[in-house]
């Protein structure tokens, strides 16, 4: 039961009144309204309005009047916020009432400590962009609502206009508006303005001024009849203490640079006040304190949608401003890394400290550029860097943030994260390095704490707080047993089959009364066919997933729906089913369809789904397509997404509704449930987008008869999601037993293949041994054990378990010492199993031997050498490659198709499209859809992950051998990057690495650059900036996301234009001249109307467009414009053409 409908709390808030519903009745009324909304209806019980205002009034009583207790008032606010929120679902509300209800809900949510819901409620405002006049009756509530939603982009222009109009009225009337019927309105606008200025810019004077003006607005006698203005002012006044206390200026330590707070208050979305868990963690009087350098370890357990990411951003920003080291931010997937990077970039752009940020898309290189201060990376990349040189890692980064730390429990990847974290922890036990571990789903937190902070000097923070409510429901498909129909029997030996219509049944238990509300579809969603008399289910029955599609379609009316499917195949199948129910006009945005079609081919099944507004998302799709889908979903351009748990683990993509299509799937070992515990919690956690809606819906689909206990499945307890080392798991111990058996039989531990978990462990032992050797220490089993003792496993294993792993470690250490010194060092850095390293070592030796016959000088191409002699096939055949074999058909008489991997790779590098590759290499697969699907899978599995890594190792080792042999020959090291991105020039690689999401765009831009530049010294960025956005559009037809990436690429690294501007400097930059301007003139920078976003920025003097912002300045100027902060702009001659000067308008009175 969500706390919002907890009977005891509602009883506390409501009290007992004959004329109002009882607490139980109220809970049921709210629940019924929720259910009605679930059905897409807007049936609001009018009596809820009385309750809402009653509770709001109880809650609003001044504490000094000693009428109600603080707990009751807080609860009354929470409940009234909820009820007002439901009332807002009525689309027929008059505008003024909508604003009043909205403002009431916002006040209630903020004072009920449910801050993000205040922003969510604001989304229901009508005519969102309207700037109203000073004498408009709705001005006060509009301003109040905008302020409580921190809508700075609207507030700055709207309030400036209101204040200008008010000042004009003062002149026109010859009297102070304060002395008139407009007094409360005038004073309220001033109070709101100064409150806004305080929240955005700090300065306690603004807060004092705001309070004084708001108080006067409430009590101003000449305007005592302007109730709305007084009412808004009253609540803003009451909230001013709370907003003051939770503002960034209060919470962040006074020693923090103001530019840090500004980065949060100005960059969109503006953060003007922290949420309760953030305040709890960051407040200055907390001991130990998050900003204290002595706090070297933090374990933060905070639910999804509770502001965890923002906390991390604050800690990062503070670290950068105060300490001279960089930040390493680790997240489990590349998608999440990109997302973290993008949101950090938006904020850190405004920070005075130079802080370039990068996201590392690949794990096999060390592009440690000096100016990069923050790198967002996967655990695999950090593991790679640690293997290569842990000292450099520690020297470079002073802060490590490990997000989604519960992935420690995820198989081989979990072990990678564990050893990386253990090693960092071990190596930094006596240094000032800080490690912050975060997750939404951490059971057994004490283990994690005792592991990383045994002395208890750090911060261990746990919160259950979250903004949006959740309504849980269970979906089943139920036959109508009362109306059986016997199917015709075409032949006498055809079995008797009885058919029943199946209806979709949704059960909700929204309230604390425990009552289950049942909704049934009005028409059948499928049929059940039973053979007689056995009652065995016949194949003609509708598969369960098909019965789920209509429900998804219905729920999509209220907002985006994420359907979690246990397998990739089922995800695609269900997506297709939902797509068939959608009308053609529900298509996904054209740019996304174009992107996916270009990448996958028109006939790929994803394309047909996208044309009906449904996407599916799983690890076999190319990264740029996944990114496009994620972007479309977060931009509200996509209603349905069917995904495997890679999405919920990987991306912070909240939606209105999450449907768990099934918790498990059949495998060779029968039905296994795996969407449970932390994985389930993470999926459920996506329901309800904080600050976008105040409620999320969760549907658990059960292909079984309903059981009331099904609701409990949606409430995993901490015991269901223990943070347990992979080495403690049964699979790991089984694999360990295999190793023990193999060793007993005399096997070479280095070449054994007992399974990925144990192989990962053995690689780690080698890594530690090699590390010790590098440091001049003996690589003995005991010295290695020092490191093992720093693992989580060692804290969780029993004595026997420790002994067994120790023995494995001992065997690996002994084997390590038996290998030649150079080989063992290489293998320890491979990042593969030792057995795979042995294979790669052999291949590298062959490659170097072949290469030695070549002429010295320029680096020679690696590709021919890598693919020669079946080497490529040996690499792709390694178990680590996990490349699925191509089959002729999905089922039936399917057979394997042999692929010429070497030719396929060559064509991939030459830029041949996926459809082209499919036609050339998979012509034995007759179904074109299946052909494209398999090729896309193949490309993703082989080229995005494993092959670049393995080829990188081969080239590196071959080059080492060539260097040792003094041949003067080296292989070109670009090949791994070329494979990864499917391009054939480093220019294209640099574009992709800089964030250009698609291979075709990178290739096109790089090709044009290499062919057209006149000066061989001209850099790509400079060349690109000789064009304009409109040229880019014409030449390359980029999607909006791609165009934004090009804009970002055009920004010179180290440019601090936005930060300087917001720090108070006047910034002058050259612009593209379109018309002559004689002398410096006041100007305006606006998007050029009619152009699709992102549109070019023009510079206007009056009605004349005289210049255009250059592409290299676009990103930063747009970042400043997006803040909504008023800017003073002038344009005039400067240098060779025109320049614009931009500065902040003084906002002081």
């Amino acid at each position: 039961v969500d706390r919002a409908l907890d009977l005891d709390r509602i009883r506390l808030a409501l009290g007992d009144h004959a004329r109002l519903p009882s607490a139980r009745e109220l809970v049921e009324k709210i629940a019924e309204t929720e259910v009605a909304l679930f059905r897409g209806l807007e049936e609001i019980d009018a009596s809820l309005l009385d309750v809402a205002w009653y509770l709001h009034s109880v809650a609003s009583a001044l504490p000094a009047l000693d009428l109600y207790g603080a707990d009751r008032q807080r609860t009354a606010f929470q409940v009234s916020g909820h009820v007002f929120d439901l009332l807002l679902a009525n689309r027929n509300l008059p505008t003024i009432d909508r604003f009043r209800f909205m403002f009431a809900a916002q006040v209630a949510y903020l004072r009920g400590d449910l801050n993000p819901n205040a922003i969510a409620a604001y989304r229901s405002r009508p005519d969102a962009a309207a700037l109203v006049g000073f004498q408009d009756p709705s001005a006060a509530v509009r301003v109040g609502s905008g302020l409580l939603a921190f809508d700075t982009a609207w507030l700055f222009p709207a309030m400036q206009r209101l204040r200008r109009e008010r000042d004009a009225a003062r002149l026109a009337w010859g009297v102070d508006p304060e002395a008139t019927v407009f007094g409360s309105s005038s004073l309220g606008i001033d109070g709101a303005w100064h409150l806004l200025l305080y929240l955005v810019y700090g300065s306690a004077d603004n807060l004092t001024l705001a309070r004084d003006e708001l108080r006067r607005a409430v009590t101003n006698s000449p305007s005592s009849e302007d109730l709305d203005a007084r009412w808004v002012a009253f609540h803003l006044l009451q909230l001013s203490d709370q907003l003051g206390a939770t503002s960034l200026w209060s919470v962040l330590p006074p020693t923090t640079s103001p530019s840090i707070a500004r980065a949060f208050t100005l960059a969109r979305p503006a953060i003007l006040s922290f949420w309760p868990p953030q305040v709890d963690l960051l407040r200055g009087d907390r001991a130990p304190n998050a900003f204290d350098a002595d706090v070297r370890r933090m374990v933060l357990s905070i639910p999804t949608s509770a502001g965890k990411t923002l906390l991390a951003q604050v800690i990062v920003a503070d670290h950068l401003a105060r300490r001279g080291t960089g930040v390493c931010f680790v997240a489990p997937t590349r998608s999440l890394c990109r997302e973290i990077e993008a949101s950090l970039r938006r904020r850190l752009r405004l920070i005075a400290t130079a802080a370039e940020i990068t996201v590392s898309d690949v794990a096999f290189e060390i592009p440690l550029v000096d100016e990069v201060a923050i790198e967002v990376m996967t655990p695999e990349r950090l593991a790679y860097l640690m293997r290569a040189d842990p000292d450099t890692v520690l020297a470079r980064y002073g802060l490590f943030i490990i997000d989604e730390a519960h992935t420690l429990t995820d198989g081989a990847r979990g072990w990678t994260l564990e050893w990386v974290l253990s090693t960092l922890h071990h190596l930094s036990r006596d240094t000032g390095h800080r490690i912050v571990v975060m997750s939404a789903a951490l059971g057994q937190r004490a283990h994690l704490v005792s592991w990383l902070d045994p002395t208890g000097e750090g911060i261990h923070f746990h919160s259950d707080w979250r903004g949006p409510r959740r309504v849980h429901s269970v979906f089943t498909s139920e036959p109508d047993w009362d109306h059986p129909r016997d199917l015709p029997r075409p032949r006498s030996n055809t079995p008797v089959r009885r058919e029943y219509d199946a209806y979709g049944v949704l059960r909700l238990r929204p309230s604390g009364t425990g009552r289950i509300h049942q909704l049934r579809t009005t028409s059948p969603v499928g049929r059940l066919v039973l053979r007689q008399p056995s009652q065995k289910r016949d194949d003609q029955s509708t598969p369960f997933y098909k019965t789920l599609a209509p429900l998804a379609s219905i729920l999509g009316r209220a907002g985006p729906v994420l359907i979690i499917s246990p397998t990739k195949v089922e995800a695609a199948r269900l997506a297709s089913e939902i797509a068939q129910l959608n009308p053609p006009e529900s298509a996904a945005p054209v740019w996304l369809i174009d992107l996916a079609a270009a990448r996958l081919g028109d006939l790929h099944p994803l394309i047909a789904c996208l044309r009906r507004g449904v996407a599916y998302h799983h690890a076999s799709l190319p990264g740029d397509v996944l990114l496009g889908i994620e972007e479309a979903l977060s931009a509200d351009e996509l209603r349905f997404i069917v995904a495997t748990t890679t999405l919920t683990e990987g991306v912070n993509l909240p939606v209105r509704t999450v449907i768990i299509a099934a918790q498990g799937a059949f495998s060779g070992e029968g039905y296994e449930e795996f969407i449970t515990g932390a994985r389930l919690l993470n999926a459920i956690g996506r329901a309800g987008r904080a600050a976008r809606e105040s409620e999320g819906w969760v549907v658990l689909a059960r292909n079984a008869a309903f059981d009331a206990q099904d609701f409990e499945r949606l409430r995993p307890t901490e015991a269901d999601m223990p943070v347990q080392s992979v080495l403690v798991s049964d699979p790991a111990l089984d694999q360990l037993a295999s190793l023990e058996a193999a060793l007993a039989g005399g096997a070479d531990v280095a070449l054994a293949r007992p399974g990925p978990l144990v192989e990962g462990f053995l690689s780690y032992v080698w890594y530690v041994a090699s590390l010790l050797e590098d440091r001049g220490q003996p690589a003995t089993p005991d010295s290695v054990s020092e490191f093992l003792r720093s693992t989580l496993a060692w804290r969780q294993l029993d004595d026997q378990g420790r002994r067994r792993w120790h023995e494995a470690s001992r065997a690996a250490t002994v084997a390590f010492r038996r290998r030649p010194a150079d080989a063992r060092r290489r293998w320890s850095r491979a990042g593969t199993s030792l057995a795979a390293a042995a294979v790669l070592d052999e291949i590298a030796a062959q490659v170097s031997a072949d290469a030695a016959a070549e002429a010295g000088g320029e680096p020679i191409a690696a590709l021919p050498l890598v693919i020669r002699g079946g080497r490529l096939n040996r690499i792709t055949a390694l178990p680590e490659a996990q490349i699925r074999r191509i089959r002729t058909s999905r089922g039936g008489a399917s057979r394997l198709v042999a692929i010429d991997e070497a030719a396929l790779l060559s064509d991939w590098l030459s830029g041949l499209s996926v459809p082209g590759l499919a036609a050339r290499y998979l012509h034995d697969v007759p179904d074109e859809e299946f052909r494209l699907e398999q090729l896309a899978d193949h490309v993703t599995a082989a080229y995005e992950n494993f092959l670049p890594w393995a080829v990188g190792i081969v080239i590196e080792w071959a080059n080492l051998a060539l260097a040792d042999g003094d041949t003067g020959i080296q292989l070109d090291t670009s090949l791994p990057a070329f494979i990864r991105y499917g391009v054939d020039s480093m220019t294209a690689v640099s574009l992709v690495r800089a964030g250009i999401p698609s291979r075709s765009l990178a290739t096109a831009v790089a090709g044009a650059f290499l062919a057209e530049r006149h000066d061989p010294e001209q850099a790509l960025r400079a060349w690109l900036c000789t064009f304009d956005l409109i040229d880019w559009r014409d030449r390359y037809h980029p999607s909006p996301a791609e165009l934004r990436a090009l804009i970002e690429f055009a920004r010179p690294p180290g440019s601090r234009l936005a930060a300087r501007l917001l720090g108070g400097e006047v910034v002058t930059v050259p612009v593209r001249t379109l018309a002559a301007v004689g002398e410096r003139s006041a100007a305006d920078i606006q998007e050029i109307a009619g152009e699709p976003a992102p549109a070019r920025l023009g510079v206007w003097v009056g009605a004349d467009r005289v210049a255009a912002i250059l592409p290299e300045h676009y990103a930063e100027i747009e970042a400043v414009r997006a803040t909504g902060v008023p800017l003073a702009v002038d344009v005039g001659p400067g240098g060779e053409g025109l320049t614009v000067s931009i500065s902040l308008v003084s906002l002081a009175d």
């Binding site: 009144h17 109002l20 019927v181 009412w231």
Partner: protein
């Protein structure tokens, strides 16, 4: 004589002369009924009332700017016309009934101010402590007026005000009942919030509890319905108890009828007086 509390700026200044209003009072089981009757213009008494009401409206709406009140008095008294700033200001503050606004709205505005005039001049009522209303944007939804009086204790009356044409009196009264009973919690919640900052702790506590007192039908809570039109009915407010059943204490339902014949002419005359010289 009025019961306005000295120094209470929110209440309008008392006029020098009470105009010729005939008061009558009746008591039903459902409600107490106050009748106020006067001739309208061009009858002299009616003209006197129109002038008094216009003066009351100016005094109330311009109470923070006595210089503008004087300017209006000057113009209405035949003196110099308005300066440009005075004219602009008055147009803004009286704009709600500017020429061109529909007669319906003008009558609604005048009805609300007539109610305000009457409740602040009814010497038979208990001592007036606080009057809020008519609301600034008369046509906007919201409470029409709130009156707090002090007898043995503080009591408030939430008022709903309607104008009627005579034939639609019953409908107007019923609409007022419904609007008041439906909207009371919302109206009171607004009054409750904004009046809590009062320095008088008893008054502040009363305001803080307005909604609760109303919902629970406490003796401090009263409902008031006022209708203004050309005629005075023979019978009115007899069903008020049905709509406010929770208000069971003595004197907790109050009806007020104001009859100024002909009301449309009266309303337009008041507007004319207000807009003279603009």
């Amino acid at each position: 004589m009025t019961n306005a509390r000295p120094g209470d700026e929110a209440n309008p200044p008392a006029p020098a002369l009470a105009p010729p209003i005939q008061w009558a009072r009746r008591q039903w089981r459902a409600a107490r009924w106050t009748l106020a009757v006067s001739d309208g213009p061009p009858n002299a008494a009616g003209e006197e009332l129109a002038q008094a009401l216009a003066r009351h409206i100016v005094g109330h709406r311009l109470r923070g700017t006595p210089q503008l009140v004087s300017a209006w008095e000057r113009v209405i008294g035949g003196g110099d016309g308005y300066s440009p700033t005075e004219g602009e200001a008055l147009k803004a503050f009286l704009g709600v009934i500017r020429p061109g606004i529909s007669p319906e709205h003008v009558e609604a505005f005048i009805a609300e101010y007539l109610w305000h005039y009457l409740v602040t001049h009814d010497v038979a009522e208990q001592a007036l402590v606080r009057v809020v209303g008519p609301k600034f944007h008369v046509t906007a939804p919201g409470g029409d007026g709130l009156v707090v009086r002090r007898g043995e204790s503080l009591r408030f009356t939430l008022w709903e005000i309607k104008k009627h044409s005579g034939t639609d009196l019953t409908g107007s009264v019923r609409d007022a009942y419904l609007q008041l009973s439906d909207g009371a919690t919302q109206y009171l919640a607004e009054y409750s919030a904004v009046e809590q900052l009062n320095d008088d702790r008893d008054l502040a506590r009363l305001f803080a509890r307005l909604v609760e007192a109303w919902v629970d039908g406490e003796p401090v809570a009263r409902a008031g319905v006022a209708v203004a039109g050309s005629t005075a009915p023979q019978k009115c407010f007899t069903t008020m108890g049905k709509y406010f059943a929770q208000l069971t204490s003595d004197d907790s339902r109050h009806g007020l009828t104001a009859a100024v014949a002909p009301f449309p002419t009266f309303a337009l005359r008041v507007r004319e007086l207000l807009w003279t010289g603009l």
